[in-house]
């Protein structure tokens, strides 16, 4: 009897499992079509010498030679360094400034207005931001150099000086990214109970102690999220360097996505471009794991 019951329960469970997979099917199909298939296709292309003008089946097989070319190519390594600098500075500066502003605005009057002002750049297209900041950075009549001149300082060639151009683009990216991060941090701040601050005040903790011992630790899952997603986005950056950095020496401003785009659609080397994209994918994957590991060691287990 018990055996029969067990068997019928199992059958029902099996039927339910099938139904479960059926419910999952649309998501799995979507994921396979738009993620797994492109990744596999991109990997196959990366082993071919293909210009997209002939069928892929006619393209010559070159094995992993495009990968070894890229890993020895001075240009690609330079581009990788630029992207690393961009990612590290953009993410760290954006989150730090957004955190400070969010804390200041959280208790301020007209906080909604402030949040709106800081959030406005987030809804502006990156190309538009690049163009507007291009005007601000103009060497002769740009706003920034006009201000420098007002204080008797020498103007800077913001977007053409190879030692400055990448940092000018990073500054723009930080400006454009603060609003989004600030909004998420503000949501995190709202979840911290006021009691903790009240108790800390009673114990004699000042604003700085409250910030470092209550706000920052309790915001850690939010900061982990912002860091991980920020790095993923920063490694893939294309629009801002492409629109703002075209008059600077390419080695000083080019990012991996820009390099991949140019290799694919100007040089018609789809294999090399795919190898570059695949390397970028691996770097982002490893970098994200590293961030999660660092946070985990610090006691944050938000994404396990």
């Amino acid at each position: 009897m018990a055996c029969k019951l067990f068997s019928s329960k199992r059958k029902s469970l099996e039927r339910n499992t099938g139904a479960g997979y059926l419910f999952l099917a649309p998501a799995l199909l979507f994921y396979s079509l738009f993620f797994i298939y492109p990744v596999i296709f991109s990997f196959i292309v990366s082993t071919k010498r293909w210009n997209m003008l002939v069928p892929l089946s006619r393209a010559r097989n070159v094995g992993f030679s495009e990968y070894s070319y890229l890993l020895k190519d001075e240009m690609f390594l330079g581009v990788l360094t630029n992207t690393l600098i961009y990612a590290l500075l953009t993410v760290s500066l954006t989150i730090t400034i957004a955190l400070i502003l969010a804390v200041l605005i959280n208790g301020a009057k007209l906080s909604v207005l402030w949040r709106f002002i800081y959030f406005a750049p987030v809804v502006t297209p990156q190309v538009a931001i690049g163009t507007i900041w291009g005007y601000l950075y103009r060497p002769n009549n740009g706003l920034l150099n006009s201000i420098l001149r007002l204080f008797g300082m020498k103007p800077v060639y913001w977007l053409t000086d190879p030692n400055v151009a990448l940092f000018s683009i990073i500054a723009t990216a930080v400006w454009a990214g603060i609003g989004g991060s600030m909004l998420i941090i503000t949501a995190g701040l709202k979840n911290i109970p006021q009691d903790y601050y009240d108790a800390a005040k009673i114990d004699g903790a000042g604003p700085f102690r409250q910030f470092f011992y209550i706000t920052v630790p309790l915001l850690s899952p939010t900061l982990l999220f912002l860091t991980a997603t920020g790095f993923i986005g920063a490694w893939q950056v294309f629009d801002l360097p492409f629109t703002m950095g075209r008059n600077a020496p390419a080695r000083s401003v080019m990012t991996v996505s820009w390099y991949v785009y140019e290799t694919a659609f100007q040089s018609l080397r789809m294999g090399r471009a795919s190898a570059g994209a695949f390397l970028l994918f691996c770097i982002i994957f490893i970098f994200t794991l590293l961030i999660l590991w660092i946070f985990k060691r610090g006691g944050i287990k938000g994404y396990e």
Partner: protein, 430 residues
């Protein structure tokens, strides 16, 4: 059952009949802007200057069995459009193509062979630079429709203010004049540029350099494309000639030719297509301000050029109809001129490469601006049609910019370019 079969047979036969009567459809891909396709219109929407569509409509009227769909794609996306259309299998039948892309397209079997009667007419009726542009591996792959070259554009007023009544004839004269045309801010930065180099994309940087290279008696490759010659004495001297303007303070990497209409640039090297912008910028001051002269030379007069040609896709199902349309548009006499020549001279503002059109549209081409470019066609050296031309041009651009920024000497920049370019040539020519 039998009745159903009869009905089915009738339906199938009707479909076959309809398809037999269907029009031949051609897709014509161009990179032209809205007014170049749709025509220039006045305030009441009347066509004042014909665009491509009006010519296509005229052709369709006289050939009712042909339907032509114009697909206009911006220049930046044009090559991508060709690539993606071939991957997806939805190709255009007729393309207007940049000559530099030709080698890759021919090597991949994308272009159809040009009929012999058309080849003969191109050889006899078109200017040399344009024929060179449409020639790949000694064969002509399309009908040239537009030829562009470069000249020196100068601000007459700024030159006169500095005591110069004539533009420079040689590069040495230009190098000597440019600092006297330069004005600096109190902080030492340049307020008015004696000379500004075109920059921002590869052709902008590379073409003027190629003009100087040819002017100095050099060339970029050996004739069989097995070696890049950028480390030759002529090539290094040509880049050093550019760098003299950076060293004597007449220009810097931040210079922008787009400031010419604002009176902030005294001299620059430019292409014919900038005429309209200059007219709009200077308005009624245009004629008394803008001057055009051949590029000041190093050893002999020379300028660089590039060509656009019209070609048929080898995979087109309507190749004969496509070539018939091209014959009508680019070669057939429409009253002393060709229709494409009229479109180029009157609407697009480019130099038509057909000698008949150049003679016929003297009114349009003999103005203050374009006349110099037309005269310079005889000194124009076509950009070489080499495999991976776009990639090679990008490499050279990057190295020239490194030299402009003082990060490399002319010799180092060009020798670095040569190493990279020779690797590419070895892939395709050895």
């Amino acid at each position: 059952m039998r009745k159903s079969l009869v009905l089915l047979l009738v339906a199938v036969l009707s479909l076959v009949g309809i398809s037999g009567l269907a029009k031949t459809k051609l897709i014509f891909a161009v990179h032209w802007s809205d007014y170049q396709v749709e025509g220039v219109k006045d305030e009441k929407e009347n066509i004042t200057v014909k665009g491509l569509r009006q010519y296509v409509e005229e052709y369709q009227k006289s050939n009712p069995d042909v339907e032509i769909e114009i697909q206009s794609v911006p220049f930046d996306d044009y090559l991508k459009r060709i690539l993606i259309s071939h991957t997806s299998g939805v190709i255009a039948d007729v393309y207007v193509l940049y000559s530099l892309w030709g080698v890759q397209l021919v090597d991949s079997g994308i272009l159809d062979q040009v009929p012999k009667d058309i080849v003969d007419k191109i050889k006899s009726n078109f200017v040399r630079a344009a024929v060179d542009g449409a020639t790949i591996d000694k064969a002509i792959w399309g009908v040239p429709v537009e030829v562009d070259n470069y000249a020196l554009i100068y601000n007459k007023k700024l030159l006169q203010e500095a005591g110069f009544n004539q533009p420079p004839k040689t590069w040495d004269e230009l190098v000597a004049m440019a600092p006297k045309l330069t004005k600096k801010n109190p902080d030492g930065t340049i307020a008015q540029y004696g000379f500004a180099f075109l920059s921002g994309w590869d052709s902008a940087v590379v073409h003027p350099y190629l003009a100087l290279l040819h002017s100095n008696g050099g060339k970029m490759f050996t004739d069989d494309f097995t070696e890049c010659l950028l480390t030759s004495k002529e090539a290094v001297e040509a880049l050093e000639a550019e760098l003299k303007l950076f060293k004597n303070g007449a220009t810097d990497p931040a210079a922008s030719v787009w400031n010419f209409p604002a009176g902030k640039v005294a001299m620059m090297i430019m292409a014919p297509w900038y005429e309209t912008s200059l007219k709009l910028g200077f308005k009624d001051q245009y004629e008394e301000t803008v001057g055009v002269a051949p590029i000041p030379y190093l050893k002999k007069p020379a300028t660089a050029g590039y060509t656009w040609f019209i070609a048929v896709d080898a995979a087109s199902k309507n190749k004969k109809a496509a070539w018939d349309f091209i014959r009508w548009m680019t070669l057939q006499d429409a009253g002393g001129f060709t229709r494409m020549g009229e479109l180029m001279a009157k609407n697009i503002g480019a130099i038509p490469p057909n000698k008949t059109d150049i003679n016929y549209f003297k009114g349009e081409l003999d103005d203050l601006y374009t006349s110099v470019f037309v005269k310079e066609l005889e000194n124009t050296y076509q950009e070489p049609n080499v495999a991976q031309g776009q990639e090679i041009k990008t490499i050279l651009m990057r190295e020239i910019i490194e030299a402009w920024n003082g990060r490399k000497t002319a010799e180092k920049a060009l020798s670095d370019a040569k190493v990279q370019i020779d690797k590419i040539l070895a892939e395709f020519y050895k």
